[in-house]
Amino acid sequence: MIGNPFVEAAYLVAAVCFILSLMWMSHPSTARRGVQVGEFGMLLAIVGTLLLKEVVDYKLIAAALLLGSAIGVPLAYMMPMTAIPQRTALSHSLGALAVALIGVVEMTKLAGQGAGVSFASVALGFEMMLGFLTCTASVLAFAKLQELVTTRPMVFKGQQLVNLAVFLAAVACAVMLALHPQSGPLLIGFIALAALFGVLLVAPIGGADMPTVIALLNAYAGLAASAMGFALGNKLLIITGALDGASGFILAVIMCKAMNRSFANVMFGGFGQVVAGAEGAGEARPVRSASQEDAAMMLENATSVVIVPGYGMAVAQAQHKVSELYLSLTNKGVDVRFAIHPVAGRMPGHMNVLLAEANVPYEKLIEMDEINGDLPTTDVALIIGANDVVNPAARDDPKSAIAGMPIIEADKARTVMVIKRSMKPGFAGIENDLYYLDKTHMLFGDAKDFVAGMVKELSGGGGH
């Protein structure tokens, strides 16, 4: 349908650029080059499109490009790193919205021509379905991450039946639209159903499962773009959408594995609303607590320290203080490393970005599988705002709600320290036996304040 050899060539080179971009993303040393080649590919694709003879009216295009840039640039520079999960959810919804709206326009065009069923009309069904559901699902994910709505799963009786009914109704509309493209109430009804399904899909998902869901929405947004490529006969869109879809699915699979759960369980499990109180609630078991002074001394006298950060560190915005602690201990000759669980935080790679922002060198950020072997010879494991990812019950208690989930084996370290506000159980509502071990010291307080206090002690400026 394109037919212009220059544009075809531009699209082909753009596709190659995107592939190189992902290839160079594999390592921090080449990743920035990956961004540059991606930008170049994008420029080629846009310039090529503007040269198409079908494109005659540039005024609105220029206005929209300028408006989008005017919003996009400040969004990129002003967004704090702690809000990266929210930004990602927001951009999934914008991307999916663009794709879905294009689908609507193409569908009305087909309807205007009185066309029957075609390859394009089927592809448009997929495009709009994935586009609208991803759009509303991502908006709800954004609202949950921003805590505009509760981060707990929203569940009601018969939920799965309602979801199934809405989904089937949307699919039925899509089939009818594909058979007889039309722009009337059926199209509007279809849009409403797909959008509603997106909301229903994310409503029962709790905060701790957000990494998987964000990855999955990434995949859907990519597939929607691919479907658009099928409808328009545009190979660049098909390739790009497939790359994006593959990326989202791989990340989602990694997240699921890191929680020892299946896709189905994440999507329909309603994790984190029932288990609270089921086990060991009420009985107050003794714990040992320690002061900032004691904790600082133990860290100072250690040879090796492993810090395990979790979402709590992000909430308390403690990453800069943690980095100061890292620096202070390193300067005293202590070997300090960070143990990163794949699902720590609210999106894949969340902890890495926060710690990198705070100037921790990336070779000190160690993956779970790599660091677990070293923990038995580690003097101190310092847990900051993590809970379920260090819960030994996942390994030892087959009846636990998180049984089988791979954990960072902090309990094997010689001494364990846990910074925590109170003894309230974590997100999954599961008791953590780690807190009651003889070698565990609980450090009660706000993560940021407590770490800042320890840094002060270490620099010799303690308040006493």
Binding site: I71, L101, I239
Partner: protein, 98 residues
């Protein structure tokens, strides 16, 4: 628009998806957040479809309105996506901080 079934397009999709799996598998888990914002920016290439709709001769008012929104939304994504990916990557430093 494509009206006939074109097996070439399916082949392109399957090969690209396969390539995508191979490429993404090799991305260090360190970089999973920037990877997401990068793929997001790249997927905003959907802007080309929106540009065609918006720039066509005799575009209907509906096409103009929806096309305008689509170009704007996709541009926000591609601009902020590339910029924020680079912002994140700049922070990943090797060696001991001074």
């Amino acid at each position: 628009m494509r009206t006939a079934f074109d097996p070439d397009l399916i082949a392109v999709f399957v090969l690209a998806a396969f390539l995508g799996f191979q490429l993404i598998k090799r991305v260090s888990s360190l970089l999973h957040s920037p990877l997401m914002s990068l793929t997001n920016a790249i997927a905003a290439v959907a802007v080309v479809g929106a540009i065609i709709i918006l720039g066509e001769e005799h575009a209907s008012p509906l096409a103009k309105v929806l096309g305008f929104v689509a170009v704007t939304a996709a541009t926000v994504n591609l601009v902020s996506g590339f910029l924020i990916t680079d912002r994140m990557l700049k922070m990943f430093k090797k060696g001991s901080p001074k």
